[in-house]
Symmetry: C2
Subunit: 241 residues, 2 copies
Protein backbone atom coordinates (compact mmCIF):
# COMPACT_ATOMS: atom_id res chain seq x y z
CA UNK A 1 0.00 0.00 0.00
CA UNK A 2 1.13 3.60 -0.58
CA UNK A 3 2.49 5.62 2.34
CA UNK A 4 1.90 9.37 2.49
CA UNK A 5 3.20 12.05 4.86
CA UNK A 6 1.01 14.47 6.80
CA UNK A 7 2.94 16.00 9.75
CA UNK A 8 -0.21 17.75 11.03
CA UNK A 9 -1.88 14.46 12.02
CA UNK A 10 -2.16 13.51 15.70
CA UNK A 11 -3.15 10.04 17.01
CA UNK A 12 -6.60 11.30 18.07
CA UNK A 13 -7.56 12.60 14.58
CA UNK A 14 -10.32 10.80 12.73
CA UNK A 15 -9.78 12.41 9.34
CA UNK A 16 -7.21 14.45 7.41
CA UNK A 17 -6.06 15.94 4.12
CA UNK A 18 -2.97 15.07 2.11
CA UNK A 19 -0.47 17.84 1.36
CA UNK A 20 -0.76 19.35 -2.12
CA UNK A 21 2.26 17.35 -3.37
CA UNK A 22 0.97 14.07 -1.94
CA UNK A 23 -2.56 14.80 -3.17
CA UNK A 24 -1.25 15.35 -6.70
CA UNK A 25 0.80 12.17 -6.46
CA UNK A 26 -2.15 10.17 -5.13
CA UNK A 27 -4.79 11.39 -7.54
CA UNK A 28 -2.82 12.14 -10.75
CA UNK A 29 0.13 9.73 -10.69
CA UNK A 30 -1.40 6.82 -8.78
CA UNK A 31 -4.99 7.65 -9.86
CA UNK A 32 -6.36 6.78 -6.42
CA UNK A 33 -9.97 7.71 -5.77
CA UNK A 34 -12.66 7.71 -3.04
CA UNK A 35 -12.97 4.39 -1.19
CA UNK A 36 -9.36 3.38 -1.78
CA UNK A 37 -7.16 2.54 1.21
CA UNK A 38 -3.93 4.46 1.90
CA UNK A 39 -1.40 4.66 4.71
CA UNK A 40 -0.44 8.05 6.14
CA UNK A 41 2.32 8.79 8.66
CA UNK A 42 2.97 11.96 10.65
CA UNK A 43 6.70 11.18 10.76
CA UNK A 44 6.50 10.91 14.54
CA UNK A 45 5.82 7.19 14.86
CA UNK A 46 2.11 7.15 14.03
CA UNK A 47 0.79 5.30 11.02
CA UNK A 48 -2.82 5.92 10.02
CA UNK A 49 -4.73 3.28 8.08
CA UNK A 50 -7.06 5.52 6.05
CA UNK A 51 -9.63 5.53 3.28
CA UNK A 52 -9.87 8.30 0.68
CA UNK A 53 -13.16 10.18 1.03
CA UNK A 54 -12.58 12.93 -1.54
CA UNK A 55 -10.09 13.26 -4.39
CA UNK A 56 -10.46 16.22 -6.74
CA UNK A 57 -8.49 19.24 -7.90
CA UNK A 58 -9.09 20.84 -4.49
CA UNK A 59 -7.12 18.07 -2.84
CA UNK A 60 -7.36 14.63 -1.29
CA UNK A 61 -9.21 14.01 2.00
CA UNK A 62 -9.23 10.76 3.95
CA UNK A 63 -11.00 9.09 6.89
CA UNK A 64 -8.73 7.47 9.50
CA UNK A 65 -9.78 3.93 10.43
CA UNK A 66 -6.77 2.61 12.37
CA UNK A 67 -3.83 4.21 14.18
CA UNK A 68 -0.65 2.21 14.64
CA UNK A 69 2.22 3.42 16.81
CA UNK A 70 5.74 2.48 15.72
CA UNK A 71 8.27 2.52 18.58
CA UNK A 72 11.56 4.37 18.01
CA UNK A 73 14.60 2.12 17.57
CA UNK A 74 16.34 0.96 20.79
CA UNK A 75 19.33 3.08 19.77
CA UNK A 76 19.74 6.35 17.90
CA UNK A 77 22.20 7.40 15.22
CA UNK A 78 23.14 11.03 14.73
CA UNK A 79 25.56 11.83 11.93
CA UNK A 80 27.11 15.30 11.88
CA UNK A 81 28.55 15.95 8.44
CA UNK A 82 30.12 18.82 6.56
CA UNK A 83 28.17 19.54 3.34
CA UNK A 84 30.04 18.52 0.20
CA UNK A 85 31.03 20.97 -2.54
CA UNK A 86 28.85 19.00 -4.93
CA UNK A 87 25.32 19.09 -3.46
CA UNK A 88 24.30 15.83 -5.16
CA UNK A 89 26.69 13.96 -2.88
CA UNK A 90 25.24 15.18 0.39
CA UNK A 91 21.67 14.82 -0.91
CA UNK A 92 22.52 11.28 -1.89
CA UNK A 93 23.82 10.61 1.63
CA UNK A 94 20.58 11.92 3.14
CA UNK A 95 18.42 9.70 0.88
CA UNK A 96 20.45 6.58 1.65
CA UNK A 97 20.88 7.21 5.37
CA UNK A 98 17.12 7.70 5.78
CA UNK A 99 16.42 4.51 3.82
CA UNK A 100 18.83 2.51 5.98
CA UNK A 101 17.78 4.12 9.26
CA UNK A 102 19.00 7.28 11.01
CA UNK A 103 17.54 9.48 13.77
CA UNK A 104 19.29 12.81 13.23
CA UNK A 105 21.43 14.53 10.61
CA UNK A 106 23.30 17.67 11.62
CA UNK A 107 25.36 19.79 9.25
CA UNK A 108 28.46 21.74 10.20
CA UNK A 109 31.12 23.90 8.60
CA UNK A 110 34.79 23.29 9.35
CA UNK A 111 37.97 25.22 8.58
CA UNK A 112 38.39 23.24 5.34
CA UNK A 113 34.73 23.30 4.30
CA UNK A 114 34.32 24.50 0.71
CA UNK A 115 30.54 24.83 1.01
CA UNK A 116 29.15 27.05 3.76
CA UNK A 117 25.52 27.31 2.68
CA UNK A 118 22.94 24.51 2.57
CA UNK A 119 19.20 24.86 1.92
CA UNK A 120 17.56 22.59 4.48
CA UNK A 121 14.21 22.75 2.67
CA UNK A 122 15.48 20.66 -0.23
CA UNK A 123 17.24 18.24 2.13
CA UNK A 124 13.99 17.78 4.06
CA UNK A 125 12.06 16.98 0.85
CA UNK A 126 14.60 14.24 0.12
CA UNK A 127 14.35 12.87 3.67
CA UNK A 128 10.54 12.77 3.48
CA UNK A 129 10.62 11.00 0.11
CA UNK A 130 13.11 8.43 1.43
CA UNK A 131 11.04 7.86 4.59
CA UNK A 132 7.93 7.20 2.47
CA UNK A 133 9.81 5.08 -0.04
CA UNK A 134 11.27 2.86 2.68
CA UNK A 135 7.89 2.67 4.47
CA UNK A 136 9.07 4.19 7.76
CA UNK A 137 7.03 6.22 10.24
CA UNK A 138 9.76 8.34 11.82
CA UNK A 139 11.21 11.35 9.98
CA UNK A 140 14.79 12.00 11.12
CA UNK A 141 15.59 15.37 12.70
CA UNK A 142 17.53 17.64 10.31
CA UNK A 143 19.62 20.43 11.82
CA UNK A 144 20.75 23.67 10.15
CA UNK A 145 24.48 23.99 9.53
CA UNK A 146 26.60 25.33 12.39
CA UNK A 147 30.29 26.11 12.76
CA UNK A 148 32.04 23.01 14.12
CA UNK A 149 33.08 24.80 17.33
CA UNK A 150 29.47 25.71 18.02
CA UNK A 151 28.27 22.17 17.24
CA UNK A 152 30.67 20.52 19.69
CA UNK A 153 29.89 23.11 22.37
CA UNK A 154 26.33 21.73 22.52
CA UNK A 155 25.83 19.23 25.33
CA UNK A 156 25.67 15.80 23.71
CA UNK A 157 24.83 12.63 25.62
CA UNK A 158 25.66 9.09 24.53
CA UNK A 159 28.73 7.88 22.65
CA UNK A 160 30.50 10.52 20.55
CA UNK A 161 32.98 9.76 17.80
CA UNK A 162 35.02 11.60 15.20
CA UNK A 163 35.95 9.66 12.05
CA UNK A 164 39.50 10.70 11.39
CA UNK A 165 42.69 8.73 10.93
CA UNK A 166 45.44 10.26 13.10
CA UNK A 167 48.95 10.63 11.66
CA UNK A 168 50.14 7.59 13.59
CA UNK A 169 47.28 5.62 12.02
CA UNK A 170 46.21 4.32 15.43
CA UNK A 171 42.46 4.45 15.98
CA UNK A 172 39.89 1.69 16.62
CA UNK A 173 37.23 0.93 14.01
CA UNK A 174 33.88 2.54 14.87
CA UNK A 175 32.43 -0.98 14.93
CA UNK A 176 34.76 -1.88 17.82
CA UNK A 177 34.62 1.46 19.63
CA UNK A 178 30.80 1.69 19.84
CA UNK A 179 28.60 -0.46 22.08
CA UNK A 180 25.04 -1.59 21.21
CA UNK A 181 21.80 0.21 22.16
CA UNK A 182 23.34 3.63 22.75
CA UNK A 183 22.79 7.15 21.49
CA UNK A 184 25.55 7.74 18.94
CA UNK A 185 26.96 10.93 17.50
CA UNK A 186 29.56 10.69 14.73
CA UNK A 187 31.42 13.63 13.18
CA UNK A 188 32.36 13.29 9.50
CA UNK A 189 34.77 15.89 8.13
CA UNK A 190 34.63 17.93 4.91
CA UNK A 191 36.43 17.00 1.69
CA UNK A 192 39.49 18.85 3.00
CA UNK A 193 39.24 16.81 6.24
CA UNK A 194 39.39 18.27 9.74
CA UNK A 195 42.28 20.58 10.60
CA UNK A 196 44.69 19.35 13.30
CA UNK A 197 43.34 22.11 15.55
CA UNK A 198 39.74 20.97 14.97
CA UNK A 199 40.64 17.37 15.81
CA UNK A 200 42.19 18.53 19.09
CA UNK A 201 39.11 20.64 19.94
CA UNK A 202 36.74 17.76 19.17
CA UNK A 203 38.74 15.28 21.26
CA UNK A 204 38.90 17.82 24.10
CA UNK A 205 35.09 18.03 23.86
CA UNK A 206 34.90 14.29 24.62
CA UNK A 207 34.72 12.74 21.15
CA UNK A 208 36.64 9.51 20.51
CA UNK A 209 38.82 9.07 17.41
CA UNK A 210 37.68 6.18 15.22
CA UNK A 211 38.44 4.86 11.74
CA UNK A 212 35.92 3.51 9.21
CA UNK A 213 38.37 1.18 7.49
CA UNK A 214 41.58 1.25 5.44
CA UNK A 215 40.24 3.03 2.35
CA UNK A 216 40.18 6.78 1.85
CA UNK A 217 36.45 7.54 1.71
CA UNK A 218 34.64 10.52 0.25
CA UNK A 219 32.74 12.60 2.82
CA UNK A 220 29.31 11.24 1.87
CA UNK A 221 30.62 7.67 1.72
CA UNK A 222 32.17 7.97 5.18
CA UNK A 223 28.93 9.44 6.55
CA UNK A 224 26.80 6.59 5.19
CA UNK A 225 29.39 4.00 6.21
CA UNK A 226 29.33 5.27 9.82
CA UNK A 227 25.52 5.21 9.88
CA UNK A 228 25.36 1.67 8.49
CA UNK A 229 28.14 0.53 10.83
CA UNK A 230 26.08 1.56 13.88
CA UNK A 231 22.90 0.06 12.44
CA UNK A 232 24.66 -3.26 11.92
CA UNK A 233 26.36 -3.17 15.30
CA UNK A 234 22.86 -3.28 16.73
CA UNK A 235 21.84 -6.13 14.43
CA UNK A 236 24.40 -8.26 16.27
CA UNK A 237 22.27 -7.89 19.40
CA UNK A 238 18.83 -7.86 17.85
CA UNK A 239 17.34 -9.68 14.89
CA UNK A 240 14.51 -7.16 14.94
CA UNK A 241 16.48 -4.33 13.38
Amino acid sequence: MHLFYQPALSPTDTSGQLSDDDARHATRTLRLGPGEAILVTNGRGNRFGSVITRADNKGCAFRIETVETVEPRPFSVRICVAPTKNLDRIEWFVEKAVELGIEQISFFYGQHSERRVLKLERIEKIAVAAMKQSLQSWLPQLDEGLPLTKLISQSVDGQCFIAHLPDDGQAPHLFHAASPTQKYTVLIGPEGDFSAQEVQQVIAAGFQLVTLGPNRLRTETAALSACQCLNLLNVVNSVNL
Copy 2:
Protein backbone atom coordinates in the same frame (compact mmCIF):
# COMPACT_ATOMS: atom_id res chain seq x y z
CA MET B 1 50.49 11.38 -3.26
CA HIS B 2 48.39 10.87 -6.40
CA LEU B 3 47.47 7.36 -7.52
CA PHE B 4 47.16 6.54 -11.22
CA TYR B 5 46.00 3.41 -13.06
CA GLN B 6 48.00 1.58 -15.71
CA PRO B 7 46.71 -1.99 -16.17
CA ALA B 8 49.56 -2.83 -18.55
CA LEU B 9 52.20 -2.68 -15.78
CA SER B 10 53.71 -5.91 -14.43
CA PRO B 11 55.84 -6.17 -11.25
CA THR B 12 59.05 -6.60 -13.29
CA ASP B 13 58.62 -3.38 -15.28
CA THR B 14 61.11 -0.57 -14.65
CA SER B 15 59.24 2.17 -16.49
CA GLY B 16 55.83 2.95 -17.95
CA GLN B 17 53.46 5.48 -19.51
CA LEU B 18 50.22 6.83 -18.08
CA SER B 19 47.03 6.35 -20.09
CA ASP B 20 45.93 9.42 -22.07
CA ASP B 21 43.27 10.31 -19.49
CA ASP B 22 45.66 9.96 -16.55
CA ALA B 23 48.41 11.81 -18.43
CA ARG B 24 46.05 14.73 -19.09
CA HIS B 25 44.98 14.71 -15.44
CA ALA B 26 48.59 14.56 -14.21
CA THR B 27 50.04 17.21 -16.49
CA ARG B 28 47.14 19.63 -17.07
CA THR B 29 44.99 19.39 -13.92
CA LEU B 30 47.65 18.56 -11.34
CA ARG B 31 50.47 20.25 -13.32
CA LEU B 32 52.91 17.49 -12.41
CA GLY B 33 56.25 17.52 -14.25
CA PRO B 34 59.53 15.59 -14.63
CA GLY B 35 61.14 14.61 -11.31
CA GLU B 36 57.85 14.52 -9.43
CA ALA B 37 56.85 11.37 -7.56
CA ILE B 38 53.59 9.53 -8.33
CA LEU B 39 51.99 6.22 -7.40
CA VAL B 40 50.69 3.92 -10.12
CA THR B 41 48.68 0.72 -9.68
CA ASN B 42 47.89 -1.99 -12.21
CA GLY B 43 44.64 -2.82 -10.40
CA ARG B 44 45.99 -6.31 -9.66
CA GLY B 45 47.59 -5.65 -6.30
CA ASN B 46 50.80 -3.97 -7.42
CA ARG B 47 51.60 -0.39 -6.48
CA PHE B 48 54.50 1.27 -8.24
CA GLY B 49 56.37 4.13 -6.59
CA SER B 50 57.42 6.11 -9.64
CA VAL B 51 59.04 9.35 -10.79
CA ILE B 52 57.84 11.27 -13.85
CA THR B 53 60.55 11.32 -16.53
CA ARG B 54 58.63 13.02 -19.35
CA ALA B 55 55.43 15.06 -19.34
CA ASP B 56 54.39 16.74 -22.58
CA ASN B 57 51.51 16.74 -25.04
CA LYS B 58 52.66 13.30 -26.23
CA GLY B 59 51.94 11.85 -22.81
CA CYS B 60 53.43 11.18 -19.40
CA ALA B 61 56.25 8.66 -18.89
CA PHE B 62 57.59 7.51 -15.53
CA ARG B 63 60.47 5.50 -14.04
CA ILE B 64 59.48 2.82 -11.49
CA GLU B 65 61.56 2.96 -8.31
CA THR B 66 59.65 0.69 -5.94
CA VAL B 67 57.05 -2.07 -6.35
CA GLU B 68 54.70 -2.84 -3.46
CA THR B 69 52.37 -5.83 -3.46
CA VAL B 70 49.02 -5.42 -1.72
CA GLU B 71 47.48 -8.73 -0.64
CA PRO B 72 43.83 -9.37 -1.51
CA ARG B 73 41.44 -9.21 1.44
CA PRO B 74 41.04 -12.43 3.48
CA PHE B 75 37.45 -12.62 2.19
CA SER B 76 35.74 -11.64 -1.05
CA VAL B 77 32.45 -9.92 -1.73
CA ARG B 78 30.57 -10.46 -4.97
CA ILE B 79 27.34 -8.54 -5.44
CA CYS B 80 25.06 -9.60 -8.29
CA VAL B 81 22.58 -6.82 -8.95
CA ALA B 82 19.89 -6.02 -11.51
CA PRO B 83 20.62 -2.65 -13.19
CA THR B 84 18.23 0.10 -12.12
CA LYS B 85 15.95 1.92 -14.57
CA ASN B 86 17.77 5.14 -13.64
CA LEU B 87 21.44 4.55 -14.54
CA ASP B 88 22.68 7.10 -11.97
CA ARG B 89 21.56 4.77 -9.20
CA ILE B 90 23.56 1.75 -10.32
CA GLU B 91 26.58 3.92 -11.17
CA TRP B 92 26.34 5.40 -7.69
CA PHE B 93 26.31 1.89 -6.22
CA VAL B 94 29.44 0.95 -8.17
CA GLU B 95 31.31 4.07 -7.01
CA LYS B 96 30.40 3.54 -3.35
CA ALA B 97 30.92 -0.23 -3.31
CA VAL B 98 34.40 0.17 -4.80
CA GLU B 99 35.25 2.88 -2.25
CA LEU B 100 34.11 0.68 0.64
CA GLY B 101 35.62 -2.52 -0.73
CA ILE B 102 34.26 -5.14 -3.12
CA GLU B 103 35.87 -7.88 -5.24
CA GLN B 104 33.30 -8.50 -7.97
CA ILE B 105 30.15 -6.88 -9.34
CA SER B 106 27.95 -8.95 -11.66
CA PHE B 107 24.86 -7.64 -13.39
CA PHE B 108 21.81 -9.69 -14.23
CA TYR B 109 18.37 -9.27 -15.73
CA GLY B 110 15.32 -10.72 -14.00
CA GLN B 111 11.70 -11.16 -15.03
CA HIS B 112 10.85 -7.77 -13.49
CA SER B 113 13.92 -5.90 -14.74
CA GLU B 114 12.98 -2.67 -16.51
CA ARG B 115 16.50 -2.13 -17.86
CA ARG B 116 18.07 -4.88 -19.95
CA VAL B 117 21.07 -3.03 -21.39
CA LEU B 118 24.09 -1.73 -19.50
CA LYS B 119 27.30 -0.29 -21.00
CA LEU B 120 30.08 -1.85 -18.95
CA GLU B 121 32.63 0.63 -20.32
CA ARG B 122 31.12 3.52 -18.39
CA ILE B 123 30.74 1.37 -15.25
CA GLU B 124 34.42 0.42 -15.48
CA LYS B 125 35.48 4.09 -15.72
CA ILE B 126 33.56 4.76 -12.50
CA ALA B 127 35.14 1.74 -10.78
CA VAL B 128 38.64 2.84 -11.80
CA ALA B 129 38.03 6.39 -10.58
CA ALA B 130 36.71 5.10 -7.25
CA MET B 131 39.67 2.72 -6.85
CA LYS B 132 42.11 5.59 -7.42
CA GLN B 133 40.14 7.99 -5.22
CA SER B 134 40.09 5.53 -2.33
CA LEU B 135 43.80 4.68 -2.87
CA GLN B 136 43.26 0.96 -3.50
CA SER B 137 45.38 -1.35 -5.66
CA TRP B 138 42.81 -3.93 -6.67
CA LEU B 139 40.21 -3.18 -9.35
CA PRO B 140 37.07 -5.25 -8.78
CA GLN B 141 35.97 -7.63 -11.51
CA LEU B 142 32.96 -6.34 -13.46
CA ASP B 143 30.76 -8.84 -15.29
CA GLU B 144 28.48 -8.22 -18.26
CA GLY B 145 24.76 -8.59 -17.60
CA LEU B 146 23.30 -12.09 -17.85
CA PRO B 147 19.80 -13.50 -17.48
CA LEU B 148 19.31 -14.55 -13.85
CA THR B 149 18.83 -18.21 -14.78
CA LYS B 150 22.18 -18.19 -16.60
CA LEU B 151 23.88 -16.42 -13.70
CA ILE B 152 22.78 -18.96 -11.10
CA SER B 153 23.64 -21.87 -13.40
CA GLN B 154 27.33 -20.85 -13.10
CA SER B 155 29.16 -22.87 -10.48
CA VAL B 156 29.67 -20.57 -7.49
CA ASP B 157 31.75 -21.52 -4.46
CA GLY B 158 31.52 -19.92 -1.03
CA GLN B 159 28.40 -18.61 0.73
CA CYS B 160 25.55 -17.62 -1.57
CA PHE B 161 22.62 -15.43 -0.53
CA ILE B 162 19.54 -13.84 -2.05
CA ALA B 163 18.27 -10.67 -0.39
CA HIS B 164 14.51 -11.10 -0.45
CA LEU B 165 11.88 -11.00 2.25
CA PRO B 166 9.60 -14.03 1.90
CA ASP B 167 5.83 -13.61 2.35
CA ASP B 168 6.01 -15.10 5.86
CA GLY B 169 8.69 -12.50 6.68
CA GLN B 170 10.96 -15.19 8.09
CA ALA B 171 14.58 -14.84 6.99
CA PRO B 172 17.80 -14.23 8.94
CA HIS B 173 19.70 -10.99 8.53
CA LEU B 174 22.68 -11.33 6.16
CA PHE B 175 24.86 -10.27 9.09
CA HIS B 176 23.76 -13.38 11.02
CA ALA B 177 23.61 -15.80 8.09
CA ALA B 178 27.14 -15.14 6.81
CA SER B 179 30.34 -16.26 8.53
CA PRO B 180 33.65 -14.36 8.45
CA THR B 181 36.52 -14.85 5.94
CA GLN B 182 34.45 -16.53 3.24
CA LYS B 183 33.76 -15.95 -0.43
CA TYR B 184 30.32 -14.32 -0.56
CA THR B 185 27.84 -13.96 -3.40
CA VAL B 186 24.69 -11.91 -2.81
CA LEU B 187 21.83 -11.51 -5.29
CA ILE B 188 19.97 -8.17 -5.20
CA GLY B 189 16.74 -7.99 -7.18
CA PRO B 190 15.45 -5.35 -9.60
CA GLU B 191 13.09 -2.51 -8.66
CA GLY B 192 10.19 -4.88 -9.36
CA ASP B 193 11.84 -7.46 -7.04
CA PHE B 194 12.34 -11.12 -7.89
CA SER B 195 9.36 -13.11 -9.13
CA ALA B 196 8.20 -15.99 -6.88
CA GLN B 197 9.45 -18.38 -9.57
CA GLU B 198 12.88 -16.75 -9.60
CA VAL B 199 13.14 -16.98 -5.82
CA GLN B 200 12.37 -20.72 -6.01
CA GLN B 201 14.96 -21.24 -8.77
CA VAL B 202 17.64 -19.33 -6.83
CA ILE B 203 16.98 -21.26 -3.61
CA ALA B 204 17.03 -24.52 -5.56
CA ALA B 205 20.45 -23.43 -6.89
CA GLY B 206 21.73 -23.31 -3.30
CA PHE B 207 21.27 -19.66 -2.37
CA GLN B 208 20.06 -18.81 1.16
CA LEU B 209 17.24 -16.32 1.76
CA VAL B 210 18.37 -13.34 3.86
CA THR B 211 17.00 -9.94 4.83
CA LEU B 212 18.92 -6.66 5.04
CA GLY B 213 16.72 -5.12 7.71
CA PRO B 214 13.15 -3.94 8.27
CA ASN B 215 13.07 -1.07 5.77
CA ARG B 216 12.10 -1.39 2.12
CA LEU B 217 15.34 -0.52 0.31
CA ARG B 218 15.89 0.65 -3.24
CA THR B 219 17.89 -1.77 -5.38
CA GLU B 220 21.13 0.23 -5.21
CA THR B 221 20.73 0.83 -1.47
CA ALA B 222 20.21 -2.89 -0.83
CA ALA B 223 23.24 -3.73 -2.96
CA LEU B 224 25.51 -1.33 -1.06
CA SER B 225 24.04 -2.36 2.28
CA ALA B 226 24.81 -6.03 1.57
CA CYS B 227 28.37 -5.17 0.54
CA GLN B 228 28.96 -3.07 3.65
CA CYS B 229 27.33 -5.70 5.86
CA LEU B 230 29.86 -8.33 4.72
CA ASN B 231 32.77 -5.89 5.03
CA LEU B 232 31.76 -5.10 8.61
CA LEU B 233 31.11 -8.74 9.49
CA ASN B 234 34.81 -9.24 8.79
CA VAL B 235 35.75 -6.21 10.88
CA VAL B 236 34.43 -8.10 13.89
CA ASN B 237 37.20 -10.65 13.39
CA SER B 238 39.94 -8.36 12.14
CA VAL B 239 40.89 -4.79 12.96
CA ASN B 240 42.94 -4.77 9.77
CA LEU B 241 39.97 -4.35 7.46
